[in-house]
Symmetry: C2
């Protein structure tokens, strides 16, 4: 491995379909990104046989044995004490500077806990957040927090807005992202206190953000905002509601067509158009939620990811490494006077 | 009007398409329910011309003039002081016993505020909730609170569970509804304190509820629960996320078919199957959110409802009147020792 190349460390044991989906996913990613090297952590007895089926991986991967793994039911408080899991070792490689990002399909709470402990939160940021890039009618948007923090105060929300803004600039290439707070109404008086306070805070602070106010969940798909900010509980509820409904409707349409011979015949003519649509809608390509606010890039793949889906999470990680996301966010934060946010809050109340 | 018939009072001035959609909707409802009489409140100068286009209404409607109306931007605190609006008068008719239910497509906050003030909350219930009946894969479910209470404590949630349980029995005919709390994980430790406390409360109390624990939003459509309980903020976020995604996907499929001649041809063969699907999915038929926990039935139609949609809200109101929903809920509540819930909470902490 030459040192000049991008290196991504990978937890081969995380997720429902590990290590097969992970290794297969790396093979897809390796074809797409010949310039990336991978350090893969896992039980070599399980990983090696699959590994050998993909000759492309031989040149670009370094396999490292990890005796243990994080399980889905493991609590964050226990996983942070075990340095021998594939997840811990993969994250640690980022801390040591061996890799620029880590990708894991394992337990979200564990990944967040170890990432926080190991990579540490960026100075001035109170809490990291989970962020994802999702599709709306006319493009894509950034949404955070998707579940790292069940309860958030106004300052947390303002910090999320700040970090989401930088991510939208970098990852979506939007020069001046429109940032909105997720709420149940668009009027100023609507919603919870912390949301109202965060709105005042962002508006009255010197944060250089194009803050457009509140957005309601049913407006998200209309592409009115590029960055959508919520506490982790609300963001997670919205995310899972969106995912669940998308699945339900797709399934209902499938069931309906299956039940009719005539409809099946009609489907033949529609296939070319539908294939295109399916490609746009395919949730797998949006796989790879990032933890922002840490001194290192930690990317969470969906636990149920298949190989293609896992490769998309790697794509996401690679993109942010190329765009210097973590150093940029750190630089931008240094310029900001976050104490001013607190002062704005005091002025308001 | 003979006194033995069911009477529903109607706010003709509420909603984006009022009074036309309301009056047309009543004509549809009148055809369906020849046994219902309506007292319609509104500006007669505006209502009368439309009214005369539907001869069926003449026999079953009584028009009453109201000089004023509630506007979308009116604040709850101001609308409760004006007894001359069509909304206030329509709700007041329920209080006076002239009608058994009221239906309005007006401002939700105003409808809730006037309904609470006029009809009063049922003794022992701390807060009324907004509830709706929605479709899942195998049938329908009840979800509450959809926005009446931004912040809720564990007792509020337990009371919603209790009322939702009765509604599912009555409106959905489910002998023993499965009741779940909406949360971001299924494990006991997940979520906010009030949700965890409510779970313990329901489990350890003598409430006769088939409590199945937590449900995550993406599991709702799989029909795992008949009653889904959340605080008003979370419920509203989930509801609007579901509605927005359903619209987005339907629109994406339409756009995709429109863009291809071949697909349009194929669509011809699919139409019979799709018409059936559209009927099941048509959100208009689920129109009519109810306020539960009040001494009277107040039904909120979607503000953007068309005539058919408004008639569905009337259907919903009629169904619950026939099933004696309000008296039943009051009787059931009388049997319950709600203080015990509080005691359960003290025992736990």
């Amino acid at each position: 491995m030459t040192e000049s190349k991008m290196v991504i460390s990978v937890d081969a044991m995380g997720g429902d379909n590990s290590p097969r989906a992970v290794i297969e996913g790396l093979a897809i990613a390796a074809k797409k990104h010949p310039d990336i090297r991978f350090i893969v952590f896992g039980d070599t007895a399980k990983v090696n046989p699959i590994f050998q089926q993909f000759p492309i991986l031989e040149k670009v991967c370094e396999l490292r044995h990890s005796a243990e793994m994080v399980h889905n039911e493991d609590k964050p408080s226990s996983v942070i004490r075990n340095r021998n899991t594939s997840m811990f070792m993969a994250i640690d490689a980022v801390k040591k500077g061996e890799a620029q990002a880590v990708v894991s399909a394992g337990n979200t709470g564990a990944l967040m806990a170890i990432s926080k402990l190991t990579l540490k939160t960026i100075t001035k940021i109170h809490r990291p957040a989970i962020v994802s890039i999702m599709p709306h009618r006319y493009g894509r948007y950034v949404m955070l927090d998707l579940g790292a923090n069940t309860e958030c105060d106004a300052i947390n929300l303002a910090e999320f807005a700040f970090m989401g803004n930088i991510l939208a600039k970098r990852a979506l290439g939007i020069a001046r992202p429109r940032v909105a707070l997720l709420n149940i109404g668009s009027e100023e008086m609507k919603g919870k206190d912390e949301i109202k306070q965060a709105a005042q805070m962002i508006k009255n602070s010197k944060l250089d953000i194009d803050f457009i106010g509140y957005i309601e969940p049913h407006e998200i798909s209309n592409g009115l905002a590029d960055v959508i900010v919520a506490d982790g509980f609300t963001g997670n509820i919205a995310l899972k509601s969106i995912e669940g409904t998308a699945k339900q409707i797709t399934r209902m349409i499938k069931d309906c067509i299956k039940g009719s011979v005539l409809a099946k015949f009609g489907l033949l003519f529609m296939l070319p158009a539908l294939v295109k649509l399916k490609k746009t809608m395919d949730p797998r390509q949006y796989n790879g939620a990032m933890f922002v606010g840490l001194n290192g890039l930690s990317v969470k793949s969906h636990g149920g990811a298949d190989a293609y889906s896992f490769s998309c999470a790697v794509d996401n990680a690679a993109k942010l490494v190329r765009q210097n996301f973590v150093p940029t966010i750190r630089e931008e934060i240094e310029k900001v006077d976050f104490d001013e946010l607190q002062a704005v809050l005091y002025d308001l109340y």
